[in-house]
């Protein structure tokens, strides 16, 4: 049975796992955006926080994903359910590109434009919301894009701790030594990653100041 026949036969399960996958990626990305972008703004404002925050996010990035899932297992409320665990791990991995791009984006705004705003009496908050964030938006979206594409790939490993998603097929296929089953997980995951990349790339282009 080739991969297409397999997917056709199990289309409800394929759909279910794809939705599970999307859910893991979606929830973790939204949470990571809510944490990462404010952190990026924070370290752009207070340079002293720059090293510890970016350093921390960097260290997380170096932990092998399987090990990170394992580390988090004993955590109280989180460890109780595999999907919570997976979401937390994915969130942690997504932080670095979000923090770094927000920081880079804000720092990359032409200093003359910011000074003109200050010189005309804009408050720090007005500068942030009306000048720095809008002008950094393209770079920030680029960070979201990187984070999402990484997450889609990483989320396949979440199946190893029983969190579901398209990794189920990959691990099942590996155990059965069946390429078709592996591909039934890998192909939809790749398509998801590509779709996310293309659509966020389009958004990035639209929101970048021309």
């Amino acid at each position: 049975m080739n991969v297409w026949q397999f997917m056709l036969q199990n289309h409800t399960e394929v759909l279910e796992l794809t939705l599970e996958h999307l859910w893991l990626v979606g929830v973790s990305t939204i949470l990571a955006v809510l944490i990462g972008i404010p952190l990026g703004i924070l370290i752009a404002r207070w340079p002293a926080l720059n090293k510890p925050v970016l350093g921390g996010a960097n260290i997380i990035q170096t932990i092998p994903s399987l090990a990170l899932f394992g580390f988090l297992l004993p955590a109280p409320w989180i460890g109780a359910r595999a999907d919570r665990l997976a979401i937390l791990a994915l969130l942690l991995y997504a932080l670095l590109p979000l923090i770094r791009n927000t920081y880079t984006g804000i720092k990359g705004v032409d200093p003359a434009v910011v000074e003109a705003g200050r010189g005309m009496g804009m408050t720090t908050r007005q500068l942030l919301w009306q000048v720095q964030l809008p002008l950094a938006l393209g770079v920030i979206i680029a960070g979201v894009r990187v984070a999402v594409v990484i997450s889609v790939g990483l989320a396949t490993i979440a199946a190893a701790i029983g969190a579901g998603g398209l990794g189920e097929y990959i691990f099942r296929g590996l155990a059965m030594v069946n390429d078709s089953v592996i591909l039934a997980g890998a192909i939809p995951a790749a398509v998801l990653a590509l779709l996310a990349d293309v659509s966020l790339g389009w958004l990035e282009k639209r929101l970048s100041p021309r």
Partner: protein, 259 residues
């Protein structure tokens, strides 16, 4: 009975400005700007002109001495209030690239929370005043010519009708013909509006054309302040050097043009 002399709009009292690394950008500056006059700060790059300008709207704070605006030290002013009562125009880079012309011009009224209809009326009025076609209102700065961008910059500085205007080489990036046109217009505008203007330039001709008085600066010092009519005849060697440099540039150009 005579009226008492009006108090200066801006005063510098023994002002020095040093960077945190100890490098001194401005030393012991004493200067007064009278209400309604255009004071030109003239000097070469690095002479401290822009530093002087930024001390007025508290983008910089003096390390020694005091800058007074309307007889009140800039340290005592709330920086935000102070800046909103002073118009600020710099070279074209100061326009917000993601704002339309109308939003750029209406910036200070907007952060001052004027009602939308009043902002719109004011923007229309200013565009007319600055010689901008009303069709340009919805354009972005990158869609304008250099001269148009500069007009937007001047209009934006005038938006909330501030009594004081700070201009940092506002016409510096323009071609000579457009520059001359904007200088002429600015002069006639100023003769009607009677703002207190501090104008930074390195161009002697611009200084002579626009200034009521000219303050020549050289490596962080004020060399002298003279009414613009007396400037070219000053015996001060540093002034003479500056004037000569421009003179020879002009005469060389003329000689080359003659066959």
């Amino acid at each position: 009975m005579t009226n008492p002399a009006p108090s200066p709009a801006i005063e510098f009292h023994n002002v020095s400005y040093r960077l945190s690394n100890g490098h001194e950008l401005l030393r012991n500056l004493n200067l007064e700007v009278q209400p309604g006059e255009t004071l030109v700060l003239l000097g070469r790059s690095g002479s401290g002109k822009t530093t002087t300008l930024k001390l007025i709207n508290q983008l910089l704070t003096p390390t020694e001495g005091d800058v007074l605006v309307n007889a009140r030290s800039t340290r005592a002013w709330d920086a935000i209030r102070l800046r909103r009562s002073i118009g600020y125009a710099i070279q074209e880079v100061g326009l917000f690239p993601h704002f339309t012309v109308a939003r750029n011009i209406g910036l200070v009224p907007q952060i001052e929370a004027w009602p939308a209809a009043r902002i719109q009326r004011r923007v229309e009025e200013l565009m007319q005043l600055a010689g901008l076609d009303s069709q340009l209102a919805s354009r972005y700065p990158r869609e304008l010519s250099g001269g148009q961008r500069q007009r937007v910059g001047v209009a934006r500085a005038l938006a909330a009708d501030p009594p004081i205007l700070l201009m940092d080489e506002p016409f510096g990036a323009l071609d000579p013909i457009t520059r001359a046109e904007l200088q002429r217009e600015f002069r006639s505008l100023q003769s009607r509006l009677k703002k207190t203007v501090v104008f930074v330039t390195h161009d002697l001709r611009e200084a002579l054309l626009l200034g009521t008085r000219i303050a020549l600066m050289e490596s962080g010092h004020l060399v002298t302040v003279l009414p613009s009519g007396e400037f070219v005849h000053s015996p001060d060697p540093l002034v003479a050097d500056y004037v000569d440099a421009f003179d020879s540039e002009i005469s060389r150009g003329r000689k080359r043009a003659q066959p």
